[in-house]
Symmetry: C2
Subunit: 134 residues, 2 copies
DNA sequence: TTACTTGCAAACGGTTTGCATCGAG
DNA sequence: CTCGATGCAAACCGTTTGCAAGTAA
C-alpha cells in the first residue's frame, strides 16, 4: 500500500469544525442544519464553505450522501466498513440503521449476473414510525 | 370532518399529452425531457403545466418518482401492481428492471417489526454494465 | 356559467461559483 | 512568500406559485 498523500486538503479551523459536528451526530443532517449548529456554537463560518467541505468529503467518500424527497442533500459521517441502509420516518424524520447480509448479497450477485462491475447500491425504506402514528 | 373530494381532475389536451409521452416510454424521464419531447412533437405546452400534472400524477400514485444524485426528479408511469427496482449503468445510463419477492418481503417485514406503517421503499443498484467495461 | 386548468413571468430554495482576502505551510 | 481555503454576493437550476385568460363540464 502506498503512503498516499494526494489529499492536499489544508487543515483549517473551519474544516475541523465541520468534521467536529459530523462526528458529534450519528444521524443525517443537511448542510444548513450543520451551519445552524456551528452558529449556535458561536462559530463564524460561511454556508459556502460548508458546501465546499461537504462536497470534498463526499468525493473522498468520507461522508455518505442521500437525497430527501424534497431534493435536499443530507450528509453523514459514515465509515466505509459499516455499510448499511436506512429506515426513515416520513413524519418525524428519525432514521434507524438497517443491516442485512442477505440483501447485500442479493444486490451484488444480481448485478454480477447481469455482467456489471464496480457495483454499489442504496436502499431507503420509509414509513410512519410507531411513535408518530401511535 | 373530512370533506373528501374525489379526484376532480379535468380532462385537458395538455394533460393527455403528458400521459401520452409517459406511456410511450418505459424508462424514467425528467420534467424537462418530457417537455422537450412534446415540443419536438409540435405540441405547445408550458413547463409549469408539466410540473403541475406530474405533481398531481405523483400524488395520485400514477407515476413513480425518484431523484438523481443531482437532485433532479425523474418520473415514470408505473402500475402499482408491478413494483420493481432498477439496475442502472453509471456509464451509459441504461436501466434494467429488477424484481425480487424476497427483497420486497424483507423490506416490509423489517419496517413492520419496527412498528412502521404506510411503508414504501426504493432500491437502486448501480455499476458499470458489461457493454461499457467489455 | 362556474371554477378548474393553463402558462408566462417572477419567486423560491438549495447549491455552486467569481473573486478579493485570509492564512496554513 | 505561495497557493489553497474562506465567504460574501450573485449566478444557477429545477421547481413552485401568482394571476389573468382559456376552457371543460
Amino acid at each position: 500500500m502506498a503512503t498516499e498523500q494526494p489529499a492536499k486538503t489544508r487543515t483549517t479551523r473551519q474544516g475541523l469544525w465541520v468534521l467536529e459536528i459530523l462526528n458529534e451526530s450519528d444521524s443525517f443532517m443537511s448542510a444548513q442544519q450543520l451551519h445552524a449548529k456551528l452558529v449556535a456554537k458561536e462559530k463564524t463560518i460561511g454556508l459556502a464553505t460548508i458546501y465546499n467541505r461537504l462536497r470534498a468529503l463526499a468525493e473522498a467518500h468520507e461522508v455518505d450522501v442521500l437525497r430527501t424527497e424534497a431534493g435536499e442533500a443530507l450528509y453523514r459521517r459514515c465509515g466505509v466498513d459499516g455499510h448499511h441502509h436506512h429506515l426513515r420516518c416520513r413524519r418525524c424524520g428519525n432514521v434507524e440503521e438497517v443491516e442485512s447480509a442477505q440483501v447485500e448479497t442479493w444486490a451484488r450477485s444480481l448485478a454480477e449476473n447481469a455482467g456489471f462491475i464496480d457495483i454499489s447500491h442504496t436502499i431507503e425504506i420509509t414509513g410512519i414510525c410507531a411513535a408518530c402514528h401511535g
